[in-house]
């Protein structure tokens, strides 16, 4: 039996609604606070670092040796190490992921796709520490049989395994973009006598470009920030090189190395991990912004 609420009951309800909405709003705002926290901590702690090290040296010096008696703080070797492992990863995940996406979207029958796609996504769920183990104790020995003289720590092995890890990011998002291409475009292409492959490569792929590019950018952003695989398999020796067969430290591997040691908080080498982290954050931020922009474009397309 429905009864009319008294005025005070209605007031209580109204106040409760207001309180709840405020609480929910605060929860949503907390995510912004996390970002502000990250930016604040990185800037603040880097500021301490840059009081002692000039930004020019930081950007132009070719050596990164904060733990030596004569410390030098040139971020370049760490950046090239990071980019090199990313390039190797992309050389693996790019062709494989894109081909897999084309196959799954245009050729595989739906039953096969229903099974393979989730199975591929499992690759993204493997803990990175396990990938690191795999890179150091399975992939590296395997590569050493092919490339004689390959050191136990090398960028190549770490990069290949990162590549395997990001296959699902590249493949899954690319496939989504390809499937969003309207069927009419394909039908028109078939009508002109094109084969399925020609349609896939010359019609579907170009139409899905921005979505595919966004998928690549997400993969790159993951590879740049990957930590455990490189820390385990690529070594922690900063090395300004473009040869993936050599060992080289990435930004992330350096942070791990310092965190594992027992440097006091406030010392310059210790503060350097925040400056390195700031560079890493800016790199991934740039990739994320590009990816966001590409996704927004691709959403508008059809």
């Amino acid at each position: 039996m429905a009864s009319k609420l008294t005025r005070s009951q209605r007031r209580i309800l109204k106040v409760r609604e207001w309180i709840i909405e405020t609480l929910l709003f605060l929860a949503a705002t907390s995510s912004v606070l996390v970002t502000l926290g990250i930016v604040f901590v990185l800037l603040y702690e880097s500021f301490v670092f840059f009081e002692h090290v000039s930004i020019v040296d930081f950007l132009t010096d070719r050596f990164w040796t904060p733990l030596f008696a004569d410390p030098r703080y040139g971020i370049m070797p760490l950046v090239t190490g990071t980019l090199l492992s990313t390039v190797v990863a992309l050389a693996v995940a790019g062709p494989l992921g894109l081909t897999a996406a084309l196959y799954l979207s245009e050729f595989a029958n739906p039953r096969v796709r229903e099974v393979i796609k989730p199975a591929l996504e499992l690759l993204a769920g493997v803990p990175t520490i396990v990938y690191g183990f795999f890179a150091l104790l399975f992939v590296t020995p395997l590569l050493q049989k092919i490339i004689p003289g390959l050191p136990g720590f090398n960028i190549l092995s770490a990069g290949i395994v990162i590549g395997i890890m990001i296959i699902p990011y590249v493949a899954s998002l690319s496939e989504d973009a390809m499937r969003a291409v309207p069927q009419g475009l394909r039908d028109a292409s078939y009508g002109l006598g094109a084969t399925k492959l020609e349609t896939a490569v010359r019609v579907v792929l170009p139409a899905a470009t921005s979505g595919v590019a966004a998928a690549f950018v997400l993969g790159i952003s993951r590879a740049v920030g990957e930590t455990m695989i490189v820390a385990i398999a690529a070594g922690t020796q900063p090395n300004l090189t473009f040869d993936p067969r050599e060992p080289a430290a990435t930004i992330t591997a350096f942070i791990v190395q310092v965190a594992l040691g027992d440097l006091p908080h406030g010392s310059i080498p210790y503060q350097s991990i925040f400056a390195a982290g700031l560079v890493l954050f800016l790199m991934t931020l740039a990739f994320n912004i590009v990816g966001f922009w590409l996704r927004a474009r691709y959403r508008e397309a059809y």
Partner: protein
């Protein structure tokens, strides 16, 4: 229309026919190449599982689960590691689930389309792309040094909670968005308030989707190593945290929140970075335990999502 329109295409016909054959052969070839490229990832996954099993299975025994780490590889175990993982995840889930679900409810059900809402949305998708080690630096600078929460289970759980917050928010938003508008309108028409509609109708309907996101988030947190190393989690812990229940009043203790800890991935990292086949076998065994847990959780989430998609017919 002139007669020339009906002329045969240039070039002798047989060649064109051959070209058509080649075009279809290329397509047949791509079907094979495409399938192979798709399978490379799965083969790698199988190789990884096989490699871990070969090295790690011989080490898996009752003792391995109930021994503390040790200088002697054969006597070392993962007791402190799995207890640590369990407690850290408990803190993570306690913080991330309510916060993430509440944020998602606000964004889907309450938020007006304005500048600030846009900021929150862009921010969430950007946070999902921030490398995990950056969260470690945030925790180090803010929790460990500014708030003084130490290198404790509490700090670790909170750090991982922030890390998986975007995952929970995105999954919950998708689940809420899939709830049909008619359900809300029906409840509103009967006089329910907005919160009553959300609590009694929208959330229950979205629950399986929310659960999927939570499972994926928890499995991610379980496997994370980098941020916890960054806050300075110790690798050699040969004791358990303070028990939460005691025989003396007040019977329940939260002292364990402030204890130092280790977790499964950090223990595995410690073993893998030591030279020697024996410790590598330990690392493989710990990795195997971790992999079975995370892949099991992931598979569960994927199955749940699959069932959901099939059943979802409003």
């Amino acid at each position: 229309m002139t007669a020339t329109d009906f002329e045969a295409p240039r070039g002798p016909r047989p060649r064109a026919a051959r070209r058509t054959g080649a075009r279809y052969r290329r397509e047949a070839l791509f079907k094979v190449v495409g399938l192979l490229a798709t399978l490379v990832g799965l083969v790698a996954l199988a190789a990884l599982l096989f490699d871990l099993a070969v090295h790690g299975l011989p080490r898996l025994s009752w003792d391995f689960f109930f021994n503390f780490p040790s200088r002697f590889a054969a006597r070392a175990g993962i007791l402190s590691a799995w207890v640590g993982s369990l407690l850290v995840i408990l803190v993570t889930a306690t913080v991330a689930v309510p916060l993430g679900v509440a944020a998602a409810i606000y964004l889907e059900e309450y938020a007006r389309r304005n500048f600030f809402t846009n900021i929150i949305e862009i921010n969430v998708s950007n946070l999902a792309g921030v490398p995990s080690i950056i969260y470690g630096l945030l925790a180090l600078g803010l929790f460990v040094y500014t708030f003084g929460t130490g290198r404790s289970i509490f700090t670790a759980g909170l750090t991982l909670a922030l890390l998986i917050l975007p995952i929970v928010i995105v999954a919950t938003r998708e689940a809420i968005r899939a709830v049909p508008q008619a359900l809300r309108e029906g409840a509103l028409a009967l006089g329910a308030t907005k919160w009553q509609v959300t609590r009694d109708h929208v959330l229950p309907a979205a629950l399986p989707g929310v659960l999927t996101g939570v499972i994926i988030g928890v499995s991610r947190a379980l496997g994370e190593t980098a941020p916890l190393i960054t806050i300075g989690a110790l690798t050699f812990i040969a004791f358990l945290p303070t028990p939460p229940i005691s025989t003396e009043p007040p019977f329940i203790s939260f002292q364990w929140l402030w204890d130092s800890f280790t977790v499964l991935p950090i223990q595995a990292f410690n073993w893998v970075s030591r030279p020697g086949v024996d410790f590598h076998a330990n690392a493989a065994a710990a990795g195997l335990v971790l992999l079975v847990l995370t892949l099991g959780l992931n598979a569960g989430a994927i199955y749940l999502r699959y069932r959901l998609r099939k059943k979802l017919q409003w």
